[in-house]
Symmetry: C2
Subunit: 454 residues, 2 copies
Amino acid sequence: MGEQIKFQLGEDDIPWTWYNLAADLPEIAPILDPATATPLGRDDLARTMPEPLADQELSTEAEFAIPEPVREIYRQWRPTPMFRARRLEQALGTPAKIYYKYEGVAPTGSFKPNSAVPQVYYNKLAGRQRLVVETGAGQWGSAIAFAAALFDMSAKVYMVKVSYQQKPYRRSLMETFGTNCTPSPSTETAAGRAVLAENPDHPGSLGVAKSEALQAVFADGKSGYARGSSLNHVCAHQTVIGQEAIQQMALADDYPDIVIGCAGGGSNLAGLSFPFLREKLRGGKDVRLIAAEPVACPTLTKGRIAYDYADTRQLTPLFRTHTLGHRFVPPAVHAGGLRAHNIAPLVSRAVEDGYMEAVALRQTACFQAGVIFARSEGIVPAPESTHAVRAAVDEALRCRDEGVGRTILFGLSGHGNFDMAAYEQYFAGRLRDDTLTDEALANGLASIPQPATV
Amino acid sequence: MGEQIKFQLGEDDIPWTWYNLAADLPEIAPILDPATATPLGRDDLARTMPEPLADQELSTEAEFAIPEPVREIYRQWRPTPMFRARRLEQALGTPAKIYYKYEGVAPTGSFKPNSAVPQVYYNKLAGRQRLVVETGAGQWGSAIAFAAALFDMSAKVYMVKVSYQQKPYRRSLMETFGTNCTPSPSTETAAGRAVLAENPDHPGSLGVAKSEALQAVFADGKSGYARGSSLNHVCAHQTVIGQEAIQQMALADDYPDIVIGCAGGGSNLAGLSFPFLREKLRGGKDVRLIAAEPVACPTLTKGRIAYDYADTRQLTPLFRTHTLGHRFVPPAVHAGGLRAHNIAPLVSRAVEDGYMEAVALRQTACFQAGVIFARSEGIVPAPESTHAVRAAVDEALRCRDEGVGRTILFGLSGHGNFDMAAYEQYFAGRLRDDTLTDEALANGLASIPQPATV
């Protein structure tokens, strides 16, 4: 049978810079102050992030140098491998060539440390003593816990309650790194208490958890806040993935026709796809970029492009992006990392400008593809990553039906070691396709601020 | 602060041969037929293993060529990284240099696939359609499930019941790879039913699970059995670890004074240490080899060197090795992979001949070291691996007390992603130091066959 092929780079091939797509798109919409509807500047942003990150957030420079202490830590697991999935191709009987870039080799099992490490580093330089963050499925919280341990800082994580219950061992992982983890909504913050007063059984959402983390940061002058996705600087940090993949495709003497990533907050997708988009924007080969999101949280396929908050309590600035409304609460699918009501403005802009497509996928179809992948390639994907697997399988099957060989590259953003309860449910036939109701969608969209109010 | 340093080899540095220590030790004790007390030959062994493995088992050649299809699959995760743990050194304030070889980057998170892949490969070549194995903590079962999926074979795993209960997601992992997993003792086999008749609450043991797996193989002419540890050929397969480590120590321009591995069935320890012992036996630098075992199952420190069975039902041949008796049932410590009543004959022989020392360690002390390690190095060790961490920490602290800098290399045999429940118990103060009673030890030792009967 066909064998998997690994394309392995050396340490010297770890990128020296992060790529910023904002350099290559005209007229990036500013981040607005919700009170004044005026663009936020460096000093405004620097109230909740270290100055170097505020600079990156507003920059239209194409490249940011990766600090050497960050690159040192990247060396623990980077460059990550890229594989040609020949066994999967054979299982599907497709003429397509399928490659995947695997970020699960990172210590916490996903792509998240790519940004957690620099964010903790800059916060440490800025004199912060503690990091406070929210987390969905626990990947971001684990990555911050990992990075905080390495920089001798403490950390506090508010974890979306439904994921906290689905993935109890994520909490143990954070605790092992020395980080305290609390299910959100919690009674620790005013934001959490307000949500619980409305609905004591609230399953939590990234928006609520983000409000809690921000309030905890504001309540204490010593803590820093770190964003797991969405913002320009986070997307930039993740471009180490795509930059490496471009080198690895060259090793394979190939180039993708299609690049696929799962889409939640958008940084994993951005990290893989933006370097390929740069090539295209600068006159290189055309490439189809596909965002794979859950039908339960169809931000790109059913959201509106509008200014909106990133949290339920309206503590964040306003970002112009695809949004389902900051009060939107998605069903409790296992891909907790994809339960975001809005997405990275740069990803949204890439979709708006026609550089990227989006597909919405059902949970059970994604797990089915995840199992096919595991049995072919020997790696169990995280529930989030199964969305990219499913989209890649669908494209490969289309190649088969059309009798056309295309080159497909997808991002395997993490392993599923902490998500086996979800696979257990899948095999037991207990996994449901929770889709959102028209009412829930309408309620969410109704919470998008009207232009007059911004 | 000091940074971790990674020593990374290229694909071409994956060893081309497995090393067989039997070539360098005189007069290896034969494996005996229990009925006749005569040495088993190739044809006898070939009744339960493919001929190439029977040849390896009996061989006194130093090297076995690694088949290309096996080396192809090794490339998915090999060469594994070796790290200098400078952050751990600083946390301990030791002048020692601490290195660790990390096998947790393998798809199932431990060293086990190093032998699962060739064993499944040889069984496939021999026309077997299914693999049946026992597993303790689930590492061996997962590795077989992984390898079977890659070679399009089916597999069946009997998992020691106490580990099955402690680590439910190991079962889900095996199922995701398409393998059926049953807690042992089970009602599926005569061996399991006999044990349950004596004690319906029997927690299971590797010996019982092995009897069940062997009976299932004997009941059906199509299945093959694969050994997760102990046998010479398994130890040989694992020497890819130590062979790579020797190359990596050369990259570090260093050489260990002390090499440490955790000891259960012995193959992880053998894999790391035997290549260093070869160097010594062939006139190279002296090195202290240390086996780290749990006080709950002190095979090397309290066992006897004698001919004994590897399973409770006396279905295996007799091996001359350190043993606590084939009826010994260790307390239910979380390091399920170290709950073996006997150990690899070659490891036993290395101890007997004075080439290797053994230390027995308490579970809570091991988890304490595991947490220190996680917070320094960013990797959560498997409970088994924490024994090697603890022994390395103890040696490093001795260096500090003596004011002597030594070079310590230990094997980090796997990550703890599937063992977070154990860490949860540790942090909650609920982890106990289950040590064996004098009575349990005496009962175990009493089951060792007397010379007259062999």
